[in-house]
Every structure is written in C-alpha cells, then in structure tokens.
Amino acid sequence: MDFDWSVVWAAVPNLIDGTLMTVKITLWGLVGGFILGALAGVARAYGHWALSGVAQVYIGIIRGTPIVVQVMFIYFALPLLVKGMRIDAEVAAIITLMINSGAYIAEIVRGALLSVHKGLREAGEAMGLPFRKILLHIIGPVALRRMIPPLGNQCIISLKDSSLFIVIGVAELTRQGQEIMASNFRAVEIWTAVALVYLVLTGLMALGLRFAEKRMRIL
C-alpha cells in the first residue's frame, strides 16, 4: 500500500489538539506527582511511623493496581461513592497521573535520600543544625542529583501512560488518533504520525534530562 501524506496533513489540526492535551495532562500530572512524591518519600525515609505507614499504604495501593483501573475508578466509581460529585475526564486524567507518578517518585526520593552517606547528616548535626535544615541544605541537594536519572525515566513513563486515558475518552493524543482513524480507516498513516509525536515528546524530555545531568554533577 502507499503511504498517503495528505491523510497526515489533514489530521494535523486534530493531532495538535491531542498533543496539547497530552502535554497538559502530563505536565500537571507530573507537577502534582513531584510534590506528592517528595512528601511521601520524605515521610517514608524519615517520618514518624504513622506518617510513614500512611505513605507506605498509598504507595502499595498505587503500585499494586494498573493505571487503567485507577483512572476508571476515579472517573466512574468515585462519583457514585461520593454524593453530588462530578468529575470531568480531563481532571480525572490529571489526578490519576498525579497520584500514580507520585507513588513511584516517592520510592525514587526515598531511595536517593537513604543513599546519602550518613556522615553528612552527622556533620550537620555536629554543627548544631536542626534536622529540617540538614535535609534542606545538605542531604536534599546531594539526593536530588542522584534522583535525576530515575526521575527522568518516570517522566517518560508517565507521558506514555497518559495514552491509557483513552479509556475514559479524554481527548489526548492517542484518543485523537483513534477518532481520526475511525473516520478515515488510514491506520498506517495515523498511527505512524501519532508514534512520531510521542517520539518527539519523549526525545525532548530525554534532552532536558541530559542537560540537567550536565548542569548538576552527580555526587
């Protein structure tokens, strides 16, 4: 069969819409995921046992269930459980990505914090610094550098996971591809174009990651 470029050109406006939605979901999802992950990771590494327990349960539930089930639960089940609650597909997608990436980021944060040599903490303690300052100024910056490679990995995984939100009908890139194909049946052209857009997005992330690693020496 021939690869018909005109099909791709015709689909460009819809693909751009889908790309923007994918970027939006991924971006907000990761911003929330970073915050949640940092909190849960610190709680797991240093928190009071109750706080650490809550974080552990959260991580266990999210890591133990598929992301498709999570988004279905939030979009379809939650409004039935909570009276009067309405949730829009885009919001459900962002929230799902937040709590999903947050759980994995928490483990990345915990691992990096615990990998920092305990002598650095003692050096800070021996100066008479409170633990809050030791974490913020000594352990945190060293751990952050070690987190860059796994965090970059998680960003790329989350971007690609957003394609699974097709199941709740949010108009992200994969969903757009599916809809265009349903109207013109040009699977080869459309899925090639969609794959290329994902490749460009993940490629940009990988570039950003490499830049961050160069800027900050990993210690």
Binding site: G119, L120, E122, A123, M127, K133, H137, I138, V142, L219
Partner: protein, 242 residues
C-alpha cells in the same frame, strides 16, 4: 567549671555495654588524647560529648549544659563543640570555602560576606587559601581533612573533638593534618582526640586516656604512661600500634 564532666556515664548498644560508668573532668585548655583497642568504646566516648550518641545512664555536662536536655539544648552543646570525622564528611556539592561558610551562615546567622571573610582566614590558617574554590572530590585526603577542621572551627567552638582524624589518610598526608592540630593545641584550644598517633599523644597531648572494655583503664600524663606503661594491657596495646 570544667569544660566536660562525665558523671558515671554508661552507654549500651543492645546487650553490650560500651561505656561502663565513666567519670572524669576535662578542663579548658587540656589536650586529651584517647587511645585504646578497636571496639574499646573510645569513639563512643567522644561521640557522647556532642550527643551524636545518647547516653543511657549517669550524666554528661558540656560547658555547663547536660546532654540530657531537650533538642535546643543539645544543639547549643553542639555549637560549642566542633567535630572532625575520620571520613572527613565534607559536603560534596559545596566547594571548600562553601563548606567552611556553611556553619556560620546557618547556625550563627552570619551574612554571607562576613562568613566568606572568616572562611578565607580559616582556610589560610590550615594552608589551603589557594584551594578554596575546589570541590572536595578535587582535593587530597589530607586537604579534605584540613578543610573539615576549618569547617569545625568556623562555628567558633570552645572545644574540638577529633575522631581518628588521620586514620583514613596515607602516611605521607598525616603530618599536614597533625601539624594543623598541633598549631591549634598551641593556641590553647581544648581538644579531645581519639587517635592511634602515639607520637602526637606524646608531643602534643597534655593528658592520655587509655580506654579498654568501656572503662578508663589509665588517665595521666602521656610521656609517663607511654614510657612506663603501668599495665600489661597498655604494654600489649602499645606494641600493636607501634
């Protein structure tokens, strides 16, 4: 008033007793050298002074404040006692001068400018003025340890604690660290030094503690104890480190 007062201090790790009822006073200006076989409790003895280890029994008073006080009291004690570690423990993400400036900025709230001036003077004092913008990974072990001494001095402690400061260094790098420590002793700094450097103990120490099995077996002038060891245990120990 003594700088450090051990009052029947005990410390246990699980079932094993590491410090078994130690009582002694350290006066301002003393250079106390602590020696003993590995596992004897000498590092723990030192680490109890700035509360890196909590004591289990008795009391320990540093510069008038008990180590059994609340977190704020403990931090106050730590600001009076500078600590130098066997593994240096410099902050790897900071240059030499940033390491030295860090304590004054964050514990004494010094403005950066003043902290930098003080840090420059301290690094010059330990002979590292021209290395101040290097990261720890770019410095030799001896240089790192001298930065660590400057960093501990920067919080203006009344007391300096050294935990085997030369044990991680190659023999030819030890003397540069020992020289800085000797200069410090000559300026009148109160020092407690856990070490295997018998020459340092003899020449610089004003008092030698031989700790064995969690107890202070001997406590006296270094030259005398080293020349005429009063016990077989100390004789055996000296033979092993010599």
């Amino acid at each position: 008033m003594s700088m450090v007062e051990f009052r029947n201090v005990t410390k246990r790790f699980g079932a094993s007793t590491v410090l078994n009822g130690i009582s002694l006073d350290i006066q301002a200006g003393e250079v106390v050298v602590v020696v003993g076989p590995s596992g004897s409790g000498k590092s723990t003895f030192l680490r109890c002074i700035n509360v890196l280890e909590a004591i289990d029994g008795g009391d320990l008073v540093v510069d008038g404040q008990s180590v059994r006080g609340d977190a704020a009291r403990v931090r106050a004690i730590r600001r009076e006692a500078g600590m130098v570690f066997q593994q240096f423990n410099l902050f790897p993400q900071m240059t030499a001068i940033e390491n030295v400036m860090f304590g004054p900025i964050h514990t004494r709230g010094l403005p950066r400018r003043t902290a930098r001036e003080e840090a420059e003077a301290l690094l010059a004092k330990v002979g590292l003025a021209e290395r101040m913008n290097h990261y720890p990974s770019e410095l030799s072990g001896g240089q790192q340890q001298r930065v660590a001494i400057a960093r501990a001095l920067a919080i203006k402690p009344k007391l300096m604690l050294f935990d085997e400061p030369t044990s991680a260094l190659d023999p030819e790098l030890r003397h540069e660290v020992l020289k800085v420590m000797r200069d410090l002793a000559e300026e009148g700094m109160t020092m407690v030094v856990v070490t295997h450097e018998m020459e340092f103990a003899r020449r610089v120490g004003s008092r030698l503690l031989f700790i064995d099995g969690g107890e202070v077996a001997h406590d006296g002038p270094p030259a005398e104890l080293l020349a005429n060891p009063p016990s077989q245990r100390l004789r055996d120990f000296l033979q092993h480190v010599a």
